[in-house]
Amino acid sequence: MDKTVNQKAWFLVLPVFLVVAFSAVLPLMTVVNYSMQDTFGNNQFFWNGVGWFKELLDPSTDLGGRFLASLGRNLFFSLVILAIEVPLGIVVALSMPRQGWTVAACLVILALPLLIPWNVVGTIWQIFGRPDIGLLGYVLNAAGIDYNYVSNDIDAWVTVIVMDVWHWTSLVALLCYAGLKSIPEAYYQAAQIDGASRWAVFKAIQLPKMNRVLLIAVLLRFMDSFMIYTEPFVVTGGGPGNSTTFVSIELVKIALGQFDLGKAAALSLVYNLIILIVCWIFYTVMTNAGAERKVQAESEPAVEPKPSVVLKPVAALKPKEGVA
């Protein structure tokens, strides 16, 4: 941490500051402004104070009911996909081949869903899941399972969740893989000499080493799934009924569908506040981990010895062990 203090650095940051301020602060100000007013069209605005916020948090009103219901659905959705994607991602990361061309091939295929436009992810699952033309829907129905995501709530939910697992598990897997790769070979050899079981290696070496990336993965996935809009919008359109209407979909309905500026703005602010809190946790984790890493690197400069140096004595040990 030997950065020099230099206030002139602000000149270097200024362009970023201006660009982001233009596209973040300015619009946010209008949102704050709207959230305190009511409009009856014709660009006539009336002061409403905190009325919208009160309504928003009161489940007996229309606005509050819709907001809290979509919030509940969204939180449930986030929890379910985290509960599936995190363990699955770890398993996939542990299943990565060790060397050769297969590593690159697996990485490329894993990364593929991450780079597909979100609306096309929706389209892919729409086409894949339809009972009449989709492979998945057709096979399920042929197997005697009555599956139709357009009309059945549970099927719609399952489709949206499987779609998210398909779309994002790779990210968790790739992050975990990056964490696993940073474990020095010597750790495994030490474990082998100690006769540690497969499970013990995972618990004592791999999991602690993946701690940081896992935390990043969980927070990233939570935030992104909490803001999900495009994929369910394309596949289910928030339906059937309101069963897959998440917060973003509800917000866009109110803002751009009904042009209810005051309600939408109040909802936006509360929504943004939740994200901001999670984001702050994320930031603290990131910067703490960064500082930790630096301290570690400074205090033990030789923490990662050259593999060849360590390998030789262990390789020499092995036959002896066998004899003994």
């Binding site: 500051f17 299943s95 979100w118 086409i127 495009t230 803002a255 943004n272």
Partner: protein
Amino acid sequence: MHSIPGRRLIMGLFLIFLLLPIYWLVNMSFKTNAEIVSTMTLWPHTPTLQHYKRIFTDESWYSGYINSLEYVVLNTIISISVALPAAYAFSRYRFLGDKHLFFWLLSNRMAPAAVYALPFFNLYSAIGLFDTPWAVALAHCIFNVPLAVWILEGFVSGVPREIDETAFLDGYSFPRFFIKILVPLIASGIGVAAFFCFMFSWVELLLARTLTSVSAKPIAAIMTRTVSASGMDWGLLAAAGVLTIIPGALVIWFVRNYIASGFALGRV
């Protein structure tokens, strides 16, 4: 010791799970609509290129790709060029409010697009940029500029400070040092940051759709319009989808080792 028993099977099954829906999309794009609707076939029995031909010859379709590319490229250029000096400043200096600024940037990267859809609509209508590529390019800066700053900061921090000092001792002015020495040194970082700006702008739908109506309509919005129309043209939709995957698929090989790091804002 490293991996788990049955790893080949697990990996194989997972990769099939990932590839099957994509295969189905590609499969559909080569089928005639009659074949799609009437029978369930695992591969196109009467393969056709009619959907691709339609997209490449019908202006209302191919203009969507051009519009998308226009704002994506604009956005990438803006994001990288403003982020570079800032990344250097964050990496080398301490200044008033630097940590708050860094957090503020991150919080914008994470802000839900739905919150900004309506105010952006008002803002860009008011300044006369609505339905131009500039509106979408500037709107996407809200998440791409912070992303670029965070990623580039990591790469700049990897350049030893001695290089700066030597350059300044040799009489390099700051702009000259920046262009002649720093930029070539972090060229791969700039490539990675540019790739992610491109990608995140390319995959975004909500803002791009809200800020355009006719002349700058992106391909993603054109696709959703087709979905809602009665009597869906599934083959055409599938072909359009396949074409949007191509930019990502083309560069995927070169960035395969950076994917995780890019999504984690260069912090892994």
